[in-house]
Subunit: 398 residues, 4 copies
């Protein structure tokens, strides 16, 4: 029997459901050195938290995260709340000696991210571990891409081409939500989905983004309020509501050019207005010896071009990343039996629990998360004054 | 609180793992009218059964399926053993008043399938329900295909083109296994994977296959024995082993032409020798008003051609079957966040539990499974004498 | 300066346009040992033939093919008429000592094909060459497929999967035409497009089809007559017209299972009812060491799976068959600048002229064409009595 | 009989071959109001020019473009030389009253482009017409994209995503050539292939690029000289050759962000280092009502997403742009019989000859070409100082 790892999860919406599935599932497919125990789920509303506990499989529910974080019988705090509360909860949990898994983006501001990374560093000495949840790293095809780059299969990296394309607000009549309110969400497409491509690109090529110039845009600046919000003259109390409409205060889309550590050239784009693209998280990397291409809408596939092959038989290969030799895959099904979105979360649990048990630093660390944040911050600053910006903190990637 | 449904699972290999994941997961994503309880898992070896119970999440383990089936505290028996034991277990369970979920193919012979379908029919009156596990019906893209056909979106069906292509024994040096031994497996590619395309095709078009002519082949008739089998002079005791090799007694590949109920023309092919195809379960249906195409290697996609569209803008659409309005999808993730192989099993649990609770006949029923078996039987007979055969039992499909 | 090759073309419709473009274009891209001279085009109607000469670039026009074939100043007769006149024209031309290029299918009946092959054999001794026009062999991606098979890159062939899918009469209201009249067209989908996949499959794998069992169908047996035909009570005089409709006397679709020389298993399908498929000539070949896949709707691509590659990096490669080292490509454009449908005809001219000049037998020969015909004949016979048939003439392929 | 249009072509390399094929072919497939006469081809070397005349089908050859341009029996001058001679030849031809077709990019500098556009404007009044050769506009799938945008099928344009990816110098050992010498080529990837995506994007969306910020890079700054160049210590006399290597003075890759007229956001990238991408000219446009996507490596296909479709059946459609109703296609082959690279050049001849005959301004005009040049110029300036630049001349697009 392995020791247990008693988990408290704060927040129980979309990410809470994904994390719960991961905590429940990981031990059934992987040999974990510690057995996760779904101890308590915490939410602001008692009734909804209790319902979530039942539905998601947690032993108890609670409404005060501070007392949860302080409990002696909790080993790890899993933060699935919106970004504006990450810093406060994470720092408190780390100071209380709990391991922390924090959803991305690490924080809504660089200052918060700094505080969190510093708290994680202080806690590390005491055996406490912290990790940020960029789960797309753990899609087998993406982890395979990293492996091939690390093995030198594509040579020196020249180009990184990353896009995260969604379309859920492409319709100008799509209603206002808290995600479009900067005071709550911190950022729009840039922080929500741009963060993922920054992390994934840096992870796969193993090099930090060093310089950026960006462009941000809000195509639809006023949106209808729905239901209660409209009656109350605001979206969850959003100011500026006029005639049943509220003002969008975050970016709908962001694009940026970058330099990476070795001199590679990056082109990044994140948008919620790419009509017809539902979750097209795409990465293409071109190197001196080969290329790789990935699109989450076909998530079990990695395309690989090997320039060492004679030109007569060279071509992008559609590798079905479902072979036993592919990262994480051996624990699942036979070749060709693809995985889905939530498997990345299960792999995250596996890697986190393994690192905690081994006393190692799980990656991406809070320092990694802060570095992503510093890239996004540089993009925002460059978009605001139209000038190139250096990224403050390139160090921890690699 | 809903009532519980106490499940006993017989067998705990590949299918046992998939079924367990489904029983565990369904209640967390769907509102089930009954709550599955993973009561007991049964296997031939006590130690391995106990280990499986721990790994797969069952409360107890057992080694005698007969006593399990007889237990008062079991409501449903889930049969995940090889095909040669399906009939005996299923009939016993039905007679003991247990609901039954039986993995496909329903049985290794048509006679067994008959007995099972009759037992299911007898038990039905007593409120007992039986279902066979053709889970590919429950991949959202496939269920959507059925929906579009039923709505008349492709008009009158002209062509059905179905393939199930794998390659796990394409290498002549791949070792012998029980799956290549007719006395154990009953059939090779035809029964193992051909059964899936027969069920899927009939399900999607809503018409039974009525006539067939087939061709079956064994490309590699002798294969090396591995490890203990080689030392013992046989594969799990397989006769005919010579010089560390055993004789393959099942088909490596099968192909057949068919007629379907309405006069549509079908072309089916199942093989384990399609080098590079890992789990390419493909269906294309052409109708007078449109067409549909599916490939499990890209399982979240359904291609749809609508001939009502002007030719200038007509084309096969790549529908990402991940919208809330698609079958089963609303319970999972946002658009573009694809599902994986095991989700079909979860949907199977949902449909089965719902039907049991409502007192309805879950589909595919044992009669449906027997009809698939009768198609396979006709293919085998036609392959043996080179003449067209009528399918004995077209009735229950539709 | 090279000697000229004076060409007479009989027929000037779709195929006449394609052949003319090839005769005009080949000398500008390839170094031909003989220079084609577009001497005369022949058609039944003087005015239309003269117009065709002007439009298609022929020096003269004529209306009597017999006198054209007899002319001393003609070296080669290019037959682009419907199949029912191929035999008569070809035999006359060969006997007059002219080289012959004859469109596929070689003839409408096996007896005619026999006569043509025998005439070609007789003429061969006198230095006269004959070739049948299966141009799809000369699409670079298809020629590359042949090359890879011949080099052993896919090993022993196990499966051949060939489809030719069109949809131009999928609509039941599509009008009657001579192509649907057996007395004129000889055959429907089987002879028109099924012939292509038979030739292409045998060419690529280098093995003849030896045994077949087929199924043929006419989904829509009566179709509206258009314009003058309707007024005259017939389609170009077709009997059996009733109420402005005529009876379809050819197959709309054909499917057949085959054995090939080495024991490979073939599945073939030709149809004009595959809604949404415009010219989907597809071939997939699975061998013990690899696989190949082609679809004419993406004609510059050959997919290749190399089983020698480790499973972690194996996958179907999308080879853009536009490299200088690919067959025929060096004469055209840089990599990635694809070719189109008519290029196959230009390559046909190149190969034909080269063989004539070298005194070699151009392939596919009339004997090859007859062998394809004998396969189609066997399919028709098997479809009519439901029994397997041997192909009479497997010899010349390979 | 139509009047003839007597053409002189200056230059006979890659572009000369493509233009010659177009002049020869157009009258055979399209009803042209004027009949092109391939009068004279002009090159610097008498022997090579004479050979080119023979190979490419021109009546005569010449070596002095000035005297060719002055000839009374020439109606149109077709300029296929490198960019550094475009201005001089074009201005002279226009002043001599000849129509001009000039290959892209219009010129190597904005000043030259200005002079050319002004010369074209002056000549216009005298009935002389000038056009620049952005042939990708005339690929049917691209022309269809323009049509759909113009019809409002994708609504208001939000995103333009354009890439032109090649890999012919991705290998650091690929030899030096004049295309890598700024004094001859003017620019590298930006002017050579970036020009195409600028023109295509503006054409399809019907809006000019107004502001840009770019990044340019030269990954490999020194390359080996081949053959004679190496012996002579330079590439065609390139200065700076050391030890058999010469210095690359143009960009290997360029990327830029843009604003378009209506406020859409553009991301552009042109590179010769995208290993495995041979001629991947890609455009994706996202609008409020739909999206379009094109990739020249699959040039007969346009992908179209129609957001008016219910989400259950919406998806990117793979429109095979080979229907009679698609632009230019009616003159060619039946549906599904794709076109190739050179067909765009034939369509260019058709449009040019038609405009000349009708007295209309053929597009893209020299003013259009100059506007593209002004975009590239702005990119270069922004890449040099890291600041956003306005495009000087947005006017003529639309």
């Amino acid at each position: 029997m392995t020791d247990s790892l008693r988990v408290a999860m704060i927040g129980h919406a979309f990410m809470g459901a994904a994390h719960s599935q991961a905590w429940r599932t990981a031990p059934h497919f992987f040999d974990l050195p510690l057995t996760p125990e779904l101890a308590v789920v915490c939410g602001r509303d008692a009734g909804r938290a209790a319902a979530a506990a039942g539905r998601l499989g947690w032993a108890e529910s609670a409404i005060d995260w501070r007392s949860v974080v302080a409990r002696d019988d909790i080993d790890l705090v899993d933060i699935c709340t919106p970004g504006d509360s990450h810093a406060e909860i994470a720092v408190a949990a780390l100071e209380a000696g709990k391991h922390v898994l924090c959803e991305k983006p690490l924080a809504n501001t660089l200052a918060e991210a700094d505080a969190m990374a510093e708290a994680a560093e202080r806690a590390y000495a005491g055996g406490v571990r912290a990790m940020v949840g960029f789960t797309y790293r753990r899609v087998p095809a993406v982890a395979l891409a990293r492996q091939l780059v690390a093995e030198g299969r594509i040579g020196e990296v020249r180009h990184v081409r990353a896009q995260y394309l969604q379309d859920w607000i492409a319709d100008p009549e799509a209603p206002f939500s808290w995600r479009l309110d900067k005071t709550k969400a911190g950022s729009g497409a840039l922080g929500d989905i741009g963060a993922h491509i920054v992390d994934m690109a840096q992870f796969v090529v193993g090099e930090p983004i060093t310089d950026v110039i960006g462009l941000m845009d809000t195509f639809v600046t006023s949106r209808p309020l729905e239901g209660a919000s409209a009656l109350l003259g605001g979206a969850d109390g959003a100011g500026g509501a006029v005639d049943g409409h509220a003002t969008v205060t975050v970016d709908d889309a962001a694009a940026f050019l970058t330099r990476l550590g070795s001199g590679a050239l990056g082109v990044f784009e994140a948008t919620r207005f790419a009509t017809g693209r539902k979750n097209a998280l795409r990465l293409e990397v071109n190197g001196s010896r080969g290329s790789l291409a990935f699109d989450f809408e076909d998530m079990n596939v990695l395309e690989f071009y090997d320039a060492a092959e004679p030109s007569e038989t060279a071509g992008f290969r559609r590798i079905l990343a479902t072979e036993p030799g592919h990262p994480y895959v051996g624990a699942w099904w036979p070749p060709g039996h693809g995985l889905g979105y939530e498997h990345g979360f299960t792999h995250q649990v596996v890697d986190l629990v393994t690192a905690i048990s081994a006393g190692e630093q799980p990656r991406p660390s809070f320092a990694d998360g802060r570095q992503v944040q510093s890239v996004l911050d540089a993009v925002e600053r460059s978009a605001s004054d139209g000038a190139w910006k250096s990224v403050a903190l390139p160090a921890p990637v690699g």
